[in-house]
């Protein structure tokens, strides 16, 4: 997208970590809706999502709460956080990257960009395709580097 303006939004209230962080990716056109959806969450689902951010940042593993697709070459950088609210399955989709290859190569960033509701067990791969595309977009990487200088 020519002249596309991507921005990275930090998640307020997460603990600083040398190992992991979670951020939201937004775009001027508003199509990347994860940040806005998060800001509008009711108290309890917001707390649930934050608790799961905490758990992932701390190195926890729980496929019921978050996971990637490491075995799928097409989507190996993709990541999702999951929660249920009022009988609806919700997802934040994004990608993982290591923005500090020189100074802190182990530091892993989860960049969330899209929200979706799910109605069956199959994943809408369009979100995963978008995640991989965004990860490879220079202006996205530039926005990440601005916030996480190496």
């Amino acid at each position: 997208m020519k002249g596309a303006q991507y921005s990275i939004a930090l998640v307020d209230g997460l603990a600083p970590s040398d190992y992991r962080d979670v951020v939201f990716l937004t775009h001027d056109d508003g199509n990347l809706d994860a940040a806005n959806v998060f800001d509008c969450l009711e108290d309890n689902p917001r707390r649930t999502v934050l608790a799961r951010f905490d758990y992932w940042k701390a190195g926890g593993m729980q496929d019921r709460y978050f996971h990637g697709w490491p075995s799928d070459r097409r989507f190996k950088n993709c990541f999702t956080f999951k929660w249920n609210h009022r009988r609806t399955m919700h997802r934040f989709y994004g990608f993982l990257c290591h923005p500090k290859q020189n100074t802190r190569p182990r530091f892993q960033l989860c960049v969330l960009h899209s929200h979706a509701t799910k109605h069956d067990w199959n994943t809408d791969t369009s979100f995963l395709t978008l995640a991989e595309s965004l990860k490879a977009t220079p202006t996205v990487l530039g926005a990440i580097k601005n916030l996480f200088p190496d």
Binding site: D12, L14, A15, D43, N44, R47, T48, A51, Y55, Q62
Partner: protein, 177 residues
């Protein structure tokens, strides 16, 4: 940004939700290990499956009594653990309950202070794996390097009951010199 308080400091409800979320994670993990599905758990609790689903997906109001019921229904126990991680401003959030559990497991699941004393006596020959270091420079160690000093030795020796481990067991904190 480094001094920003954790989201659990915003309200008691936020802090409580984080704690019960850790507990729900424990229950759900246990269910997977023990091959207990929600229908089976509901039967053990004598509630509807929908009620179990509601509790697991929206645990914010989970009471201590209910936590005990859920733990016992999956064959487990719980303890309430108080600790000092030096993070008075709560910038780091609560330590995950899993970490306390894993510490206890790696120490051989001591069920009283006598077992813990027995572990202490083996320090001279023991070099055990350590947990990641927290930013504050304080560690909740699995095992101890001999040159480390105990910073909290004020545990009164009393036998733990069979009902639960004494929570003060977990409040031992060691620093690098």
């Amino acid at each position: 940004m480094e001094n920003q308080t954790h989201w659990t400091e915003r309200s008691k409800a936020d802090f409580q939700h984080r704690l019960v979320a850790d507990f729900v994670n424990f229950i759900e993990t246990t269910m997977e290990v023990e091959n207990i599905n929600q229908a089976m758990l509901a039967a053990r609790l004598r509630v509807s499956e929908g009620r179990v689903s509601q509790v697991l997906n929206n645990p914010g109001n989970l009471t201590l009594k209910k936590m005990i019921e859920y733990a016992r229904a999956v064959g487990r126990k719980i303890s309430i653990v108080g600790y000092d991680d030096g993070d008075i401003a709560n910038t780091q959030g609560p330590i995950h309950a899993d970490i306390f559990g894993k510490c206890w497991e790696r120490l051989g699941k001591p069920n009283d202070f006598f077992a813990l004393d027995g572990f202490d006596q083996q320090l001279g020959s023991a070099t055990l794996p350590q947990f990641n270091r927290f930013d504050g420079g304080r560690l909740m160690l699995v095992g101890l390097e001999p040159e480390l000093k105990s910073d909290n030795s004020a545990q009164s020796k009393r036998a733990a009951t069979d009902a639960s481990l004494d929570a003060s067991f977990f409040e031992q904190e060691y620093r690098y010199g």
